[in-house]
Amino acid sequence: MNQVLTPAAGITKGSFGEVRLERVGKIYEKEIERLVALDEFSLTIERGKLTVLMGPSGCGKTVLINMIAGYEQPTSGTITLDGRPVQGPSCDRLVVFQESALFPWMSVYSNVVFGCQVQGIDPAEIRAKAELILRKVGLFEFRDKYPAHLSGGMQRRAELARALINDPKILILDEPFRGLDAMTRELMQEFYVGLFEEFGRTNLFITHEIDEAIFLADKLVIMTYQPGKVKAEIEIDLPRPRDFKMLASSRFMQIRAQTLELLYEESSKAFASGSKAAFDLVGALASSKDSCRIAG
């Protein structure tokens, strides 16, 4: 897949944005319940860097994305993009969703050009741009197919193309490779990291997979469980361009062990507070306390 990565003039470089979250809080009030999803969350998503966010389920990652994208408003604090406050959805902050959000009733081509079309860009320009980007992601021959007729990996590439053609200042990816089989997932990571290394752009990537996180990231942010806060920021100093062989490097394994430790700590806390998402730890904590040993 690397062979398709030749520079394409249609995708402009340099529209890098910087997102600053300052003491952001988000509280949900439902009936009598009061859920503090985020509390005093401060983070800078640096210009041109790939920031990866991890944390136990239910730590407010999705809320965070929704607020950066402008689908929801924070209860307190400010979110700014290049110094200007974020208000409502806009095409300078595009999200690639967990479950594919390609419009199933449009062909790949129509999906990719949708944004440009509704913004009223000149059709000839759209066509040229779309062709370039479709070739870039290796989907040019598939442009007339519907999303359901593509493989999972192709769908993800189509979605990346739909976002990139609009030249967003920040690209937000919410567990984009979830649901793909392990093999496709690894190849997509390679493809995506290649794309990133070529074009830069500010990226925020959310994932559950520890290997994926370390393989991709410039900076790894680990969140705490309810209320969501920044627990740790780890600079990933693996050299770029990244290569799959790094997965077997000792530096990689070191970072992995360190990250796992932090995540385990958070999951235990989540488990202790009764989160169903951290349920997997049941039995594990008990057996580690030696209160109950497996005996043949």
């Binding site: 689908y71 479950e99 959000a101 419009f103 009733w105 949708f114 944004g115």
Partner: protein
């Protein structure tokens, strides 16, 4: 390598096809036998060949085809009216919470009333019998389509709407390019289900109140004690209903190429 023809032959002569055919033959033989042996209650059934000869006689008569035309035109007029009113109403209820709050309860009060129970009021209200039958057919399809459209709209993933907003879509784009195609599968389902109910309602309405039509001739065959023709009528209604559903399925496939499987 196998030739396509070989594949076709294999399919035609597969165990499944043979079983299916033999079961149909068995069914006809059993029917014959039941009548021949004068099994209690079922002895009044006509012989299959009687039905067949009556069917053939009907197929070459103009009156029979006029009945087809009458029934089909009633179905289409009532059905299309139901879609024309039901789809916009469903979309409006599905999109606007406020509108839903006002209209849905009334809708829910009227919906459980069986369409056939509307017959007397329909006859009373509409100036002609024909109009009242259109109305009944309309009622049969209307509630189902509305419910399905509402479901269709609310089943559209919020991510799709958000994605469209992010990409710069205006409410107008969202409606025409997201909500409408997104609820299309439910609309088609609603139409298919509605079509089944509609035929049911039409037959009852024709039996009770119409002049001409497949339901009416079946009923007249009953009053004349022409039992083979009753069966001919039933089979014709079955075929007509089946053709209508097939037409809808075909339309659905045309309208939703993205759903097609390879």
């Amino acid at each position: 390598m196998k030739t396509p023809r070989g594949k076709l032959l294999k399919k035609v002569f597969s165990a499944r096809t043979l079983r299916g055919l033999s079961s149909i033959v068995l069914f006809v033989v059993l029917w014959q036998l039941v009548v021949y042996l004068k099994v209690p209650y079922l002895q009044n059934l006509p012989y299959p060949e009687d039905v067949a000869s009556h069917g053939l006689a009907a197929a070459v008569s103009t009156g029979y085809w006029i009945d087809w035309g009458l029934s089909l035109s009633r179905i289409f007029i009532g059905f299309i009216a139901a879609q024309l009113l039901g789809i916009p109403l469903g979309l409006a209820i599905g999109i606007s919470r406020v509108f839903r709050g006002f209209t849905f309860p009334v809708f829910e009060i009227l919906r459980p009333i069986p369409p056939i129970a509307w017959i007397p009021l329909a006859i009373l209200f509409w100036p002609t019998r024909e109009l009242s039958i259109y109305f009944l057919v309309f009622i049969g399809a209307f509630f189902i389509i509305v419910i399905n459209v509402i479901q269709g709209v609310s089943n559209i993933s919020v991510n799709l709407k958000w994605a469209a907003f992010s990409l710069g879509a205006k409410p107008n784009d969202i409606f025409w390019r997201i909500l409408l195609p997104g609820s299309l599968p439910s609309i088609i389902t609603g139409m298919t289900v509605g079509m089944g109910v509609t035929w049911n309602v039409l037959i009852a309405a024709e039996m009770i109140a119409a002049q001409g039509g497949l339901g009416r001739t079946t009923w007249e065959a009953y009053t004349n004690h022409n039992i083979p023709y009753i069966v001919v009528g039933m089979v014709s209604i079955g075929i007509a209903g089946y053709l209508c559903s097939t037409l809808l399925r075909w339309l659905g496939e045309k309208a939703m190429p993205w759903k097609r499987k390879f």
